[in-house]
Symmetry: C2
Subunit: 178 residues, 2 copies
DNA sequence: TAACCCATGTAACCTGTTACATGATTAA
DNA sequence: TTAATCATGTAACAGGTTACATGGGTTA
């Protein structure tokens, strides 16, 4: 997949400008897909050339014009086709594990520092996810279908960070023992 | 990070040809970093131009010549520098979560099928990791330092797949309930 | 005789990142 | 007056994927 599918996914829920999409990719959607505004503007232009999105210019007073994008039926079809087409789980690309793989080239203290640093970041993210959960998903049983799906993505984040945190603790303990 | 650091990491453990490196990236190292042979040959040439690796041509009878690469002191220095430089945890790029995010655009059965398919792949990988563990790491307490580090990368894989499997089960259950 | 293994590469393309650029309004 | 927010982009580059190419040796 590429960013185009993520853009279609975002626009399937809500019309937006490139600027707003960039914000989404910095917030909610950004927890599982990152994109810079440059990439977003470029891909929106491409999607529009393919007829999958279209925009309407919204003038504003005292502010720059906004280009409000919406998904077209063609774009929705492509989104549905993509969702239904089976894909492999995203390949893992984990620099930290590569560092451990060659970890005998450095002092153990170097690995410990890097592990501690990453552990802290995972702990931060976990706290953030927990805050989101208690603020927006306090009562999961009462959620509508679409909200329940979002809740599931949040659970994926929570479970991932918990597991990562536990692994960092294991690695710190093991390397300290040596 | 890019592939170059992973190549240095591999060569820090063992001299190898491009072909052998491609095999490593299809096996052990490949569990946390993927690379195609095209990319490997290209990056080896770049690393050699930078003086971080060097090769020796090994003629063979009845087979093509091999270029055996080894890491240079300069390359080892760069590897050590890279390992010691703090990095953010790899950003999550998860197409499946993007699919759920826009999951209200398709029938629930479509999501269930995709989740079941991914669940099966995670179960496969988990089994594979467990097989590696019982074959090569039956007695973790007796491992030398470098082996212990490899064992930690294996634990990361095991924990990741277990957690992913549990999440797929949660998602299947939740979507079935609707 | 067909397919696979060994072993190397080139070229085109797609995707993602970084740097640069504009220009008005608003809050500290 | 400095920085941040709103809102759009271009250009160059780095990294990753796919397709194409060669050619002998081995196994089914």
């Amino acid at each position: 997949m590429s960013l185009s599918h993520a853009l279609l996914a975002a626009l399937s829920q809500q019309c937006a400008t490139g600027y707003e999409l960039a914000q989404h990719f910095d917030g909610c959607l950004g927890h599982f897909w990152k994109a810079s505004h440059q990439q977003i503007y470029r891909d929106l232009a491409k999607l529009e050339a393919q007829g999958q999105v279209q925009h309407e210019v919204m003038p504003q007073v005292g502010k720059p014009e906004r280009k409000l994008y919406q998904i077209t039926p063609l774009g929705l079809g492509e989104l549905q086709r993509w969702i239904a087409s089976p894909a492999d789980p995203s390949p893992i690309r984990d620099a930290l594990l590569v560092k451990l793989y060659a970890g005998n080239c450095v002092e153990p203290a170097v690995l410990l520092a890097e592990l501690a640093q990453q552990r802290a970041q995972h702990a931060n993210r976990l706290e953030m996810y927990q805050a989101i959960e208690s603020q927006y998903f306090a009562d999961p049983a009462s959620l509508a279908y679409a909200q329940r799906l979002i809740w599931l993505t949040l659970q994926a984040g929570l479970m991932y960070e918990q597991q990562r945190l536990a692994w960092c603790d294991l690695a710190l303990k093991e390397i300290n023992r040596c």
